[in-house]
Symmetry: D2
Subunit: 462 residues, 4 copies
């Protein structure tokens, strides 16, 4: 490879090592920026014309050339070559092939430092928008399922031990809250990405008096970066994005864990849609929750991506350093994991079926109303700590005798405390327990319905 | 240790292993929540009285007891005991010592699950407020320094190679931008923490009709959590906090790196304040930038904390699991790193002295106006790519002959291109280069002054 | 604080900021090196005497002083002061208090750089030895349990779906293998730590001709570091240690996950020892597997520590940098997590009780011999892929009709394939399946017994 | 996609979602295992024949078919299809196309669980061998450079402050030590990978009496896994590999950092080979150390990979879970980063040129012999701490007066202490300082030469 073909070749006496050029070429991954790069090129060309750096005729020639490239990209005909280092050089090279040396004017008043920062922000902004759309779909699926399961009951777990009876809808709504926060994080990240660094040049600004606000308007950026050094070296928006994806996958991993356990033969609480499970190559009876396991595993992958990006930035002197070229690898991978996983998560949530028969039986045979029993005593005036301790003893004896809490006799209770009376019966029924829960966000029917109504309205409103 | 002393001891036949109880005790670290726990206890007591779960007299007795505990905490007289597992039990035990069995009513309508979630949110909200205050101080220091250095010049670097001349003020403002974004992240995290889960009970809500809005108002929470399962298991606000701290330290590590390099004998660009440096135990001539190195190192520590917290949450089934007890270790450590580092960062930034004499000489002897030279040709009509290549050759020849770019003769230039004329001289002067940079955020004097004015106004406004 | 009291104060004109000195002081955490530091000091003193840098009398005086300090440390009487920066200065200060100015000779021919590297290696070597001892105890517990459960059966799981019948002993032995590898990693890390950097001085070696081999022998180091720059800057052994701990906790987290699920009411496969479980402060019926959850959570903590340490080292120029002071925080924490968790893991494993009655019933009612059925057909000549597919259909029909695989009639099978005959019966019995598994490491009785015998012999041999 | 084409399709009533199948398909990345999979298939076929599960004729047919596939792979003609999930199914499908239904017998006595574990181990073993070879080359380059630079001097740094004079060779040898440890880690990882799990079946072993030792010999495995559950679920070797790569890149990042700083204009200590640097697209004078920056950045990438892999495994129940499918992504990426970076690192190290003229001047003008001066006093009997303090004052005064330490007058020294005499002169000469350093591993000429000789011998020996 001859040095002089390189955009920066003038200064060098010896040729670069071929192996090194391949090693440093980013076009293998940054070609995903191609559409954004063409958009930026077009906007920049118009700005150059506006600033009279290029003539109207030149402007027309360049933008038409870019249009042709856009078509080639859209139709999958554009051929990227590793000889041209990165996506920017590939597009510029192709432009030169199409329109001749005037293509060389496109890079005026711009450095690859501000160029790539701008493309990457366009990418993140776009990914955020797609992801928030998908998250809204996912939230809709949770609310839809909640609506269908308001009158189903299941044990709520803490420490994976049966704790208290809850409405199935309440379980669905718990996940809704997580993804609602995720959506907020992506909206906030979109805003962080929505700042245009173009015009920062290599790091000091540019010499050509280009109207940055004009370019920003063409590209739909709300604000301009306010310091050119920071403009080319800031990757906070990318870290934020990777963090938001990590957190999203932490949530998906929790959903996955719940459902993997619930759909085991032993729990049998949930049936997963066949369409999202696989079998075993050797054990024909298996129905494996592969999708869920992949969601769970990808919490590792996306956390790895976040670490990659943060470590990469640690200790970098100002301004741009080549280390930052690799920011795109974790960034794009995290985006792709989110974008490919969320549609399947929607399909999954829609397809979840709780086995209400098994769950009802489980509730009846358990000790899930122990707290209610303690609360009964508290309402009769016993201090909570004493009530709690007394009920602990009762449960222990019941368990010893194999008696579910719902079936304990009043006599037995009264032996423990004279505060018990016939009204205690309703405190022992697991299906009556949820409605006794008070306050916003509880598992009581009224509260759950209120949530659903509120959420449906909010989802429609957008 | 007798089992029956434990809050949850009623059910157990065999005593817990002493070693295990010590292992599981969190009071060693969660005692940092003590003040918040007392505040919450007080608010909860008033809410219990409002809901008539306890009498006015009981309420008075409990709140007075809590007041006494507050004093003990403030005066460092409160003795935490590992026998009482966690901070909550320690405080309740002390309350019982002070006011007798009525203390047992305090835990009514509440679980440690929603209690600790509430305390932790109060902690994070408080830490965010302190950190944003410190960040404002840090930003003020940068703006102050910028104001003093508007007319100083230094080489701007990319790849740690001299790139273009910049104003020293512009370098200070670049860091200002980073910490401004950090401040925004902590403000946003404060909002995420500002949601009260109290009332969620163990996971299903509580049986006592406590007015959650009333408690929230007392504790200054803006909103209530909307799902009790999520209320006790959500730690997103903690992850966000740790992420914000990680990013803050990535920024501090970059500042550190720049200054460590600038203050080396070889660069000699910066003199650090004696008050923030140390010597060597064996090499008397050394002046070590320990503070900066610690800032840089803590990027590792705080990223480790973030990883800890995210991994901890991965794959946890709903709702509360004991794993989550350890969320406080990375959380508190990240908070403490930020809170202890920022005041020193302020002191540091105030004390930075650039050696303008050395820097001026460096600029004169370098090739930092090469881009300006290329831009000169572009403005004369040469396509950028050709101009860039030609200037590359010029620089290469200058370097070979040991001639700084500013001293190249017009004749020599004209041999390269007839486009050069006498007006090129000003393009070769490194101190004239910055003002040629156009547009918002550039290193031109006017732009830098505009930034400073805008930032001073904004800082005053708050 | 007066500068001249600092070991390195001579060069400085202005006093250090008090806040900065506190911030940079490491004695808060590096005091854990105190015993190792005294040991090193003693060995170094003897080496100084041997090299005639100090007189025999001085040597005696210093070593006696150090002996006194050792006693103070052992009896908890030694008072560490943050005024003295780090553990080394604390001990030297105390020595001066005890024996006067001759204490100042102790630091001859040594820098804190090689001093702290040596202490840290002693610490890691010691921790490795303790951990490998504990791991051997843990492995013994697994083998002991395996021996007791050779004739118990349970479903083996993949994807948390019942897969094939295995011996309970085989499950125990699977974990044995993990911890055996952990032990090997700690042995290997011990070797990595077993290299003495003392004598490297600040980075170039020392001027005093101290016999490094002599000191190493006194401290029990097998080898000497071979490059003084690397000697003071190498922390690979610490990274290795943190990695080994991380992997150990990944294993503990898997054990925890299995047992948390197995001990849920729904699985009911395992009863955990009361002594290692806790109750709930509000739900009296709960028996929470806190210990297991803490093990699982600490996989996050120790992975965070590993990340901390690796990030801290990234991009550090040679040789020592202050960033490295913080290596001790993740290192010590990981060591302490391992050292405190392993004894409880031993207690746990000893106390695990499988509910064989429930498991036997579960095996009978499942489809765990489906592979055996397919293998039957293969042995009759059907290609595996066809056999697998046919059995898939049979299982599907059984499930539809609620018939466990063990109860399917021969007629029904023969309708599917004429290859079935009466001998198929034994292939459907889950308790006969394990012994049909061939080869080293399978779940067949003979193989399991062979393993146990081999492991017991190996454990005794050490 | 029809379900019945899937290897595990028999049990399912509804078709899998196309999107889900694409999502779960691993052939996009696991095709890198293709060669290893064919090798394993061949060995397994021979073992099936030996066990008389298949006839000699069938064996011949299958192995010939596999040979054909091998050729297709080698010639890049093999077409992988996402319809066939993973690399194993692709190869089996192709085999069926080539030799008909007998291909279906290949999967007998094997599950994809043990199959993929075996392939992955073959991959890691192979990568380790290649990497250790490359590391040996890298070490050779360091030793070669050391040999050439034994008589060159440079400042050794701590805290990036000039500390003591060292031989340039000593700096090269410091890095040699790091990569020597890396080599040891890859050798150890190779051993960890060198254990064959094949024969573990899905998790319980296999029904066919296949001779595992026979297959292992064919594949060159030294040992057999000793527990079939662990055999399919162990990924420790992959974690170890990723850790070893992370540590390797921590070392490369340190080398990079040193060289980036040394090759800045301000330091000017090092000239990097043109062949491994790039220019700027906008600043023609730049010579950017891209390769070094990429090395440094990849410390982030490979640490991210390690985190990915560890998190992925956290909390997985036994045995195989689909999460583990994604182990290959970080594993392969880390391997590829090491394999592509090391040859360039060799080229780099060979091409490093220290500018000895600049360095000599720097040494003369500095204060690098301050320790020597203090040691002079110590050898005259002054306690080290006092000597150190006195020299600190001397240096401070010299600096104030702009006098390099080497030029201080004896009179001036004697004013500070009567212990100074004419013999002090040689203690102030930076080029005499290194040879005064004593003991193994010091920067003295004799020690450095001893190291070089020893290392050359060791490198030849292998």
């Amino acid at each position: 490879m001859k040095v002089k073909n390189k955009a920066w070749g003038g200064r060098f006496k010896n040729a670069q090592s071929k192996q090194f050029l391949e090693y440093g070429a980013s076009v293998g991954f940054d070609q995903k920026l191609a559409f954004f790069d063409v958009a930026q090129n077009t906007a920049h060309t118009l700005a150059l014309a506006k600033a009279k750096i290029i003539s109207r005729a030149e402007c027309l020639k360049i933008t038409k050339g870019l249009e042709g490239i856009l078509r080639e990209l859209a139709e999958g005909r554009f051929v990227f070559s590793a000889d041209d280092e990165d996506v920017h050089m590939n597009i510029e090279r192709r432009l030169r092939e199409k329109i001749g040396p005037v293509a060389g004017k496109l890079h005026t008043g711009r450095s690859r430092n501000d160029q790539v920062a701008t493309d990457t922000r366009l990418y993140v902004r776009d990914a955020c928008r797609k992801i928030t759309g998908l998250l809204r779909g996912l939230r809709t699926a949770f609310v839809f399922q909640a609506e269908k399961t308001v009158d189903g009951f299941m044990p709520g777990y803490t420490h994976l031990q049966q704790a208290q009876p809850i409405r199935i809808a309440h379980w669905f709504l718990a996940y809704h809250e997580m993804f609602l926060r995720d959506e907020a994080r992506f909206l906030s990240t979109e805003k962080s990405a929505d700042v245009m660094p173009l015009g920062s040049g290599a790091l000091a600004g540019n010499n050509f008096g280009i109207d940055r606000r004009f370019t920003a308007d063409l590209l739909g950026f709300s604000t301009l970066s306010q310091n050119s050094i920071d403009g080319v070296s800031d990757r906070d928006f990318a870290s934020e994005f990777c963090f938001a994806v990590s957190t999203l996958f932490v949530h998906l991993s929790r959903l996955a864990e719940d459902l993997i356990i619930y759909s085991s033969s032993e729990f049998g609480s949930v049936v997963l849609p066949d369409a999202l499970c696989t079998g075993s190559s050797i054990m024909p009876q298996k129905k494996n929750p592969d999708l869920l396991e992949l969601f769970r595993g990808k919490a590792g992958r996306t956390t790895g991506n976040l670490v990659n990006l943060l470590v990469l930035q640690k200790g970098l002197p100002l301004a741009y350093n080549k280390d930052m070229q690799e920011d795109k690898i974790p960034l794009f991978d995290s985006a792709e994991q989110a974008l490919s996983s969320l549609p399947l998560a929607v399909e999954l949530v829609k397809g979840i079926k709780f086995n209400e028969k098994i769950l009802a039986k489980r509730l009846r045979n358990g000790y899930l109303t122990a707290v209610d029993l303690a609360d009964f005593l508290v309402l009769k005036g016993m201090p909570f700590r004493s009530a709690h301790h007394l009920v602990g003893e009762i449960v222990s004896e019941c368990e010893g005798g194999g008696i579910p809490l719902a079936e304990i006799k009043l006599d037995a209770l009264r032996k423990k405390s004279a505060l018990f009376d016939a009204s205690v019966k309703s405190y022992l029924d697991p299906t009556l327990s949820p409605d006794r829960k008070k306050g916003d966000g509880s598992t009581a029917r009224g509260e759950v319905l209120k949530q659903i109504k509120r959420l449906k309205k909010a989802l429609r409103a957008k």
